[in-house]
Amino acid sequence: MIFAEKKPMAEILEKLTGYKKILVVGCATCVSECAVGGEKEVETLAPLISLAFKEKGLHIEVFTATLEKQCEYEFVEEIAEKIENVDVVLSLGCGIGVQALAERFPDKPIYPGVNTSALTIREEAGVWASRCAACGDCTLADTFGYCAVARCAKSLMNGPCGGTRKDGKCELNEENDCIWNLIVERAESRGELDSISKVQKPKSWSNGRHGGPKKVIDEVQRV
């Protein structure tokens, strides 16, 4: 899912200083799955913000709402009334959600409360790890199901580099396996080392972010 991380409280509180009525909006999809922006987190953050301002002798009102998906206009519409009554909105949705709110409510300041940072899988309860880099040119077939773009620190196509530790971990982050070590192991176990013994040509990055902001139109889907 789209993965996000909580922003430090100091940063959030600084942005909210000066406002009297705050609405904290969460999202029940991706950010809820990674426990940073779902209903629970909204209900945790709201009193925390209130306590923080009380500590400074300021009384502010904090309202809450959690949308099914902050990236769907039909769900965003549900809080139109609530938004009228506040001065500022703190969105715990991913960058897409924050912008959906900002688009629909252009007159209200909408601030992000989380940092959207990766596309991940939940490896186990409480552990999320990068899996995809949205490069736009998926070659997972060539690397035995391990993405070298997202999971190699250098996005090597002809890895591994000289930085694979003895225990098979990446020298950059010892929590991570060297993905090329895993690719080689799997290739070996399938008797297909030959396929990664050929030189892979340079990748074209133009279908991902590097090609510019995307706008994709599917006329069949368009009503």
């Binding site: 430090p8 629970k40 945790t44 709201a46 009193p47 925390l48 306590l51 002798g57």
Partner: protein, 156 residues
């Protein structure tokens, strides 16, 4: 000489929050797992045994039911402190309940620290076979900690 109304309003809002002054009676909410309290009927009237502070207790069907937002909402709207009482790790009937409660209490304390409120307002006790008087003792200790941290804050 008449003082304009607006000045008085700002003065009141910006002085020290009344509930932090040492004179006012502090309030504690004590949440306990049903398995760590010895079976006795006094527990229903435990609030009457709290002399120097106001006490509200509530039973948790399981220690794993405690959540960060429950604690924070109580601190924001209702009480000066929250004490969570659960069984020791190895005695937990749910196996992971006490461990979860511990992690969540620690998390809340970190959050409170991050916003400058300090960690004394939330506590965790892990014991079993507790009587009414034991709970009052635990509650009193937490109130004492909160009181001294308020006083420290006033003195700064």
């Amino acid at each position: 000489m008449a003082v304009p109304n607006t000045n008085w309003r700002y003065f009141i809002i910006n002085t020290n929050n009344n509930s932090k002054s040492a004179e006012k009676k502090l309030k504690l909410v004590l949440l306990y797992c049903q398995n760590c309290v010895a079976n006795n009927r006094d527990i229903n009237l435990i609030a009457t045994k709290a002399k120097e502070f106001t006490l509200r207790t509530a039973v948790l069907p399981c220690s794993s039911k405690i959540q960060a937002h429950i604690i924070l909402k109580i601190l924001d709207n209702e009480a000066d402190g929250v004490e969570i009482v659960v069984c020791p790790d190895e005695k937990c009937h749910f196996l992971a309940g006490s461990i979860r409660a511990k992690k969540r209490v620690e998390y809340v304390r970190r959050l409170l620290d991050e916003i400058g409120v300090g960690t004394d307002r939330v506590g965790l006790t892990q014991e079993i076979d507790l009587s009414c008087d034991d709970l009052i003792e635990i509650a009193s200790r937490r109130i004492a900690k909160i009181k001294s941290s308020y006083e420290e804050g006033d003195n700064l």
